[in-house]
C-alpha cells in the first residue's frame, strides 16, 4: 500500500449516509467491508477511482439495506408510519390552538398588531415545522432500527398528498400569490420529519456499542 493510500479516507458524506440508513449491527460489517475494499482499490487504482467506487456502492447499498430493514419488520414499521400520520393530524392542530389561545389571552391583536400578524402566519408555519420534527422523532423512536425507512415513507406519503392538494387548490384559486409559499412550507414540514428521523438515528448509533466491542 502506498503511503498516500494509508491516509486516504472514503468520502465522509457517503460513510454518513451508509451509517444513517443501515441498522447499527449491520453497519459495522458493511462499513468495515467498504473500507477494506476502498483502501485496497485506492492503493491499486488511485484515490479517484476508489472514491467513485465507494459512491457507487453507497448509492446501490442504501436502497438494499433500507428495503431489507423494512422486510425484516414490515408490520411495526407500517404501524410507526400510520401512527406518525395520525399524530400529524393532531399535533399541529393542537399547537395552532395553543398559539391562538395565547394571542387572545394577552390581547396581542390590540397591543402588538405586527407581532400578532407574525405569530398568526409565520409563527404557525414555524410551529408546524417544529411539530413535524417532533413527530419525525416519535416515528423514528417507534420504528427502532428502521428510523430512516419509516420517516422517509411517512414523508413520501405526505408529499404525495401535499402534491395532490396543491394541484387541487391551485386549480380552484388560480391566480394566487401564496401558492409557492404554501408549497415551500409543506416541503419544509416533510423535510423536518426526515430530519427528526436522522437525529434519532444518529443519536442511537452514537449510543449503541459496536458488536465487536461486546
Amino acid at each position: 500500500m502506498t503511503p498516500q493510500a494509508d491516509f486516504v479516507q472514503p468520502p465522509r458524506l457517503a460513510v454518513w449516509l451508509v451509517k444513517l440508513f443501515t441498522p447499527a449491527d449491520a453497519a459495522e460489517s458493511i462499513l468495515g467491508d467498504l473500507l477494506e475494499e476502498f483502501s485496497r482499490l485506492a492503493s491499486k487504482s488511485g484515490v479517484a477511482v476508489a472514491r467513485s467506487w465507494y459512491w457507487r456502492q453507497t448509492v446501490k447499498t442504501i436502497p438494499q439495506v433500507a428495503g431489507a430493514g423494512f422486510r425484516a419488520a414490515p408490520w411495526s414499521t407500517t404501524a410507526a408510519v400510520i401512527g406518525g400520520f395520525l399524530l400529524l393530524r393532531f399535533v399541529p392542530h393542537l399547537l395552532e390552538t395553543a398559539i391562538f389561545a395565547v394571542l387572545h389571552r394577552y390581547r396581542v391583536f390590540e397591543h402588538h398588531f405586527n407581532a400578532y400578524v407574525f405569530f398568526a402566519t409565520d409563527g404557525i408555519a414555524i410551529g408546524h415545522v417544529i411539530a413535524s420534527l417532533f413527530v419525525g422523532c416519535i416515528v423514528a423512536l417507534a420504528a427502532k432500527g428502521r428510523e430512516m425507512v419509516a420517516t422517509i415513507a411517512l414523508g413520501l406519503i405526505l408529499c404525495l398528498m401535499a402534491g395532490v392538494g396543491y394541484l387541487a387548490w391551485v386549480a380552484r384559486h388560480w391566480p394566487m400569490d401564496d401558492a409557492m409559499a404554501w408549497m415551500l412550507w409543506n416541503c419544509t414540514d416533510l423535510f423536518a420529519i426526515v430530519v427528526g428521523g436522522a437525529i434519532v438515528r444518529m443519536r442511537g448509533s452514537a449510543a449503541t456499542p459496536r458488536p465487536s466491542d461486546a
Partner: protein
C-alpha cells in the same frame, strides 16, 4: 411440497459462493467471488440483504471475527452454509438440471 423450497437466483449464487469460499466467506470475499465468476457488479448491500434473508430462513449462519485495523477497527462477519442450506442448494440444482435436461441451450443462445 412447501412453496419456498427453492433458492432464488441471487440466493443460489450467494450460497454457491459461500460453499466455494468455505471458512473465508465474509462480505468482501463473497462480493468479489460473485463479481469474478459472474462478471457482474454487485453491491455490498445486496450481498448482506440476501445473506440476512438466508440466515432468517436457516440456510446460513454467521459469526463475528476479530476487529482489524485495515477495517477501521471493525470486525468481519463470517458466514457458512448450514445443512438445511446445503439441502436447499441441492434441491435447486436438481430442479434446474431437470428443467434444462434435453434442451439444446446452444440453440437457445443463437436465438437470443
Amino acid at each position: 411440497m412447501p412453496a419456498r423450497d427453492y433458492l432464488g437466483e441471487f440466493e443460489h449464487i450467494i450460497v454457491l459462493a459461500l460453499l466455494r469460499l468455505e471458512d473465508r466467506a465474509y462480505g468482501v470475499t463473497v462480493r468479489q467471488e460473485i463479481e469474478f465468476r459472474t462478471n457482474r457488479e454487485v453491491s455490498i448491500g445486496a450481498v448482506y440483504a440476501t445473506l440476512d434473508r438466508l440466515e432468517t430462513k436457516g440456510y446460513v449462519k454467521s459469526h463475528r471475527g476479530d476487529p482489524t485495523p485495515e477495517r477501521g477497527g471493525r470486525s468481519k462477519r463470517f458466514f457458512r452454509v448450514t445443512a438445511k442450506g446445503e439441502a436447499a442448494v441441492n434441491r435447486t440444482q436438481r430442479a434446474l438440471q431437470s428443467m434444462t435436461e434435453g434442451l439444446d441451450l446452444g440453440l437457445i443462445r443463437s436465438y437470443s
